[in-house]
C-alpha cells in the first residue's frame, strides 16, 4: 500500500470511476428502465405530448450503460458479444419512436416482397399479409418482449428470493411449508402450468407476469435457499444478530448482497427462458394481444398465410430476432459465470 499520495484535500474522483459506483449504475438503469416500462405498460394512459418525449432520457442512459458494460467486461469476449446483442435490442426498444420508421400498424401493401418499392415506401424487409412494414414491426416488437420479459423475471425473482430467504434463514416450519408448495409447483411441466394459469386469468401482459412468477419462483426459491443456508453461519450474520437487527433486515441487507454472484448469472439465464416463454405463449394465443407488434404475435399471424417459400420471410424475421435476443442473454450468462469463477 502506498501512503505517499495521500494529501489532505482529496483529489476529485474521475468521472469514469464515479459512474461505476453502485448508486450511479442503479440510477442509469432506472433512467433507462422506468421510461420504457411507462411507455409500454401504461402507454394508453399517457398523453400524446408526454409519450413523445418520455423515452428521450432513456437513450443516452442505454448508450452509457453499454459503454460501461463493454469497458468493465473487457476480459470476457463472450460477455461482450452477449451484452452487444442485448443492448442492441434495448437501444432499439428505447429509440423506436425516434427512428425513421413508419407506423407498424398501418396497412400499406399486402405481401410486398423484400426490397420492394410500393406506395412511396421502400419495404426493406417486405410487408406482412396485411401490408404492414416488417422492418418497422420487427423493431417495435422488441419493446413488448423486453419489457414484459424483464418485468416478469424481476417479479419472479423478488417473490422467489423472498421465500428462499425465509426458508433458508428461518428454517424449521417455514422451510417445510415453503418447500412443500414449491415441490407441488415444480411437479408441473412448465408449459402445463402456464396454460392452466393463463387460461384461468385470461391472456394479457400482467397475467403473463403472474404465470411466470408461479413457474419460475419455486426454482429461484431453491437456489436462494441453498445460498442462504451456505452464508447463514458466517460471522457477519452472527454479528448482525448480536447487534439485535431485525431478521428481515439481516436477510435483505446482509444475506442477499453476499449471495449475489450466482443469482446474477441465474437471472441472465432466466431472462432467456422468460423471453422464450413469452414468445411461445403469444404464439399459442395465451399471451399479449393484437394489434401492437410483438415477435410471437407476428409468428402466430403469419403461420396461416406464410407457408410458402416466397413469403417465408414473415416467419423467419421474428424467429431470428427472438433467437438473437435469447442468444445475447445466454452468452451474457456464460461470460459472467466465467468471470465469477475466475475471481
Amino acid at each position: 500500500m502506498t501512503t505517499a499520495n495521500i494529501s489532505l484535500d482529496t483529489a476529485p474522483v474521475p468521472f469514469n470511476v464515479r459512474i461505476r459506483q453502485p448508486t450511479a449504475l442503479i440510477g442509469l438503469v432506472l433512467l433507462m428502465w422506468v421510461p420504457l416500462t411507462l411507455y409500454v405498460m401504461f402507454g394508453p394512459f399517457l398523453s400524446d405530448t408526454l409519450k413523445s418525449f418520455v423515452l428521450l432520457p432513456a437513450i443516452p442512459a442505454t448508450v452509457a450503460l453499454y459503454v460501461i458494460a463493454v469497458t468493465s467486461w473487457r476480459e470476457s469476449p463472450v460477455a461482450i458479444i452477449g451484452a452487444t446483442l442485448v443492448f442492441f435490442w434495448l437501444f432499439v426498444a428505447v429509440s423506436a419512436p425516434y427512428l425513421p420508421l413508419i407506423d407498424p400498424n398501418k396497412p400499406l401493401a399486402p405481401f410486398a416482397e423484400m426490397g420492394a418499392y410500393k406506395k412511396d415506401h421502400w419495404f426493406l424487409l417486405g410487408a406482412d399479409f396485411k401490408g404492414r412494414d416488417m422492418l418497422s414491426r420487427d423493431l417495435w416488437g422488441c419493446q413488448r418482449v423486453l419489457v414484459w420479459g424483464v418485468s416478469a423475471t424481476l417479479v419472479a425473482y423478488a417473490v422467489g428470493a423472498f421465500f428462499g430467504l425465509l426458508a433458508g434463514y428461518l428454517s424449521g416450519w417455514w422451510d417445510q411449508a415453503i418447500s412443500l408448495v414449491c415441490n407441488i409447483l415444480l411437479s408441473f411441466p412448465v408449459m402445463v402450468l402456464f396454460i392452466l394459469i393463463l387460461n384461468y386469468l385470461g391472456p394479457s401482459g400482467f397475467n403473463i407476469v403472474i404465470a411466470v412468477t408461479f413457474a419460475s419462483a419455486p426454482a429461484i426459491m431453491r437456489i436462494v435457499r441453498g445460498l442462504t443456508l451456505d452464508t447463514r453461519s458466517r460471522d457477519y450474520i452472527f454479528a448482525a444478530q448480536t447487534r439485535g437487527e431485525h431478521p428481515l433486515r439481516i436477510m435483505i441487507f446482509e444475506l442477499l448482497p453476499n449471495a449475489r454472484g450466482p443469482i446474477i448469472v441465474d437471472a441472465c439465464l432466466r431472462l432467456g427462458y422468460t423471453t422464450v416463454a413469452i414468445t411461445t405463449l403469444t404464439f399459442l394465443g395465451l399471451g399479449l394481444q393484437p394489434p401492437d407488434p410483438d415477435w410471437g404475435l407476428m409468428i402466430k399471424e403469419s403461420t396461416k398465410v406464410a407457408m410458402v417459400w416466397k413469403f417465408s420471410y414473415m416467419l423467419l424475421i421474428p424467429a431470428l430476432s427472438v433467437s438473437s435476443l435469447i442468444l445475447g442473454f445466454n452468452l451474457l450468462a456464460d461470460g459472467l459465470r466465467e468471470m465469477s469463477l475466475r475471481d
Binding site: S187, F188, P189, M191, F283, L315, V322
Partner: protein, 316 residues
Amino acid sequence: MLKLIGSRLLQMLLIMGVISFILFAIFDSDKFKKQIAVNELGGFAVSALSEQDYQAWLEKKGLNVPFYQRYLNWVAGVAQGDFGKSFEKNEPVADLLATRLVHTGLLALWVFALMIPLSLLFGVVAGMKEGSPQDRLTSFISVLTTSLPEIATAIILTVIFALGLRWLPPNAAMVNGWDWRALVLPVLTLVLYDFGYVARMTRASMAEVMNSQYIRTAILKGLPYRRVILRHALRNALIAPFTIIVLQMNWLLSGVVVVEVFFQYAGFGKLLLDAALFGDIYVIQAATLVAVFVAVASQIISDVGYTFLNPRIRFA
C-alpha cells in the same frame, strides 16, 4: 431402497390429489361453466346466455351439484378408469387421451432415440480433452442450439426443408393417413433444442472424471487410451447424464405443446392446449394429471436410478 420408492410414490399420490382438487375448484367457477355452455350451445356471447338455458344445460350435464360432490364422483370414476367425457369432442376422455398419448409417445421415442446417442457422443468427445478444438466446437454448437427456441427452430427447419427444398411436408396434421415423413421435422426440432443441454451436462461430467486421480493413474500405468476411456472413465461419467436424460421427460412434455401446435400434430400437447382454450374441464384434469404423473415419475426414476448406479450415495 424400497422404502425410498414407497415414500416417493406416496408423495406423488398426495401431490396429484391436491392438484386435481385445486383444478376442480378453479374450473367450477360460474365464469368457466358459462363459457363451456356458450361453446357447446352455439357461438353467441356469454352475455346472451339466458339464465334458464344455462340452468337447463347444467342440469343436463350434471354440473349443478356442489363441486365437492362432483369431485368425489370423479375420483371414484378415475379409480375405475373412467375419466369423464369431453365436452368439446363428445367422446370418453380416456380413449381420447390414450390415442393422443400414443402419438406423443411415438414422437418422444424418436426424440430420445436420436438425442441420447448424439448428445452423449458429443459430450464425451468434448469432455475427453478440455479446451481442445472439439470441446470448443461442442460448446459453440450447444450454446447456439439451446438459444434457438423451439418455435424458431421449427420455423427455420420448415422454411429450409419443407418450403425451400420441398423434401418434407410442412405440417404433421396427417389428413391423408399416417405419414412417417411428416414426423421428421417435429422430431428434429425437439432434438436440436434438447441436444445442447444434455451434451453440455455430459461434457461437464466427463471433464470432471478425466481430471480425477484414478484416470491419471490408469493413463500413467500404460493402459491403452481407448481402454481408459471405455472401461474406466465412461462408467463414472455417464451417471450424471443418466439422471438428466430421465428428467428430460418432464421438459419434453412442455416442449411438445409448441411443436405439436406449430406442426398441427394431433398429440398430447395440442389436446391440452385445445382443451384449455375451450374450457374442457375433464380433458384438462386428465391431461394435467398425466403430465404431473410423468414429471414426478421421471423424478423418482432418476433419483432411484442414481442411487442404484452410484452406490456412494444412499438416501436416508
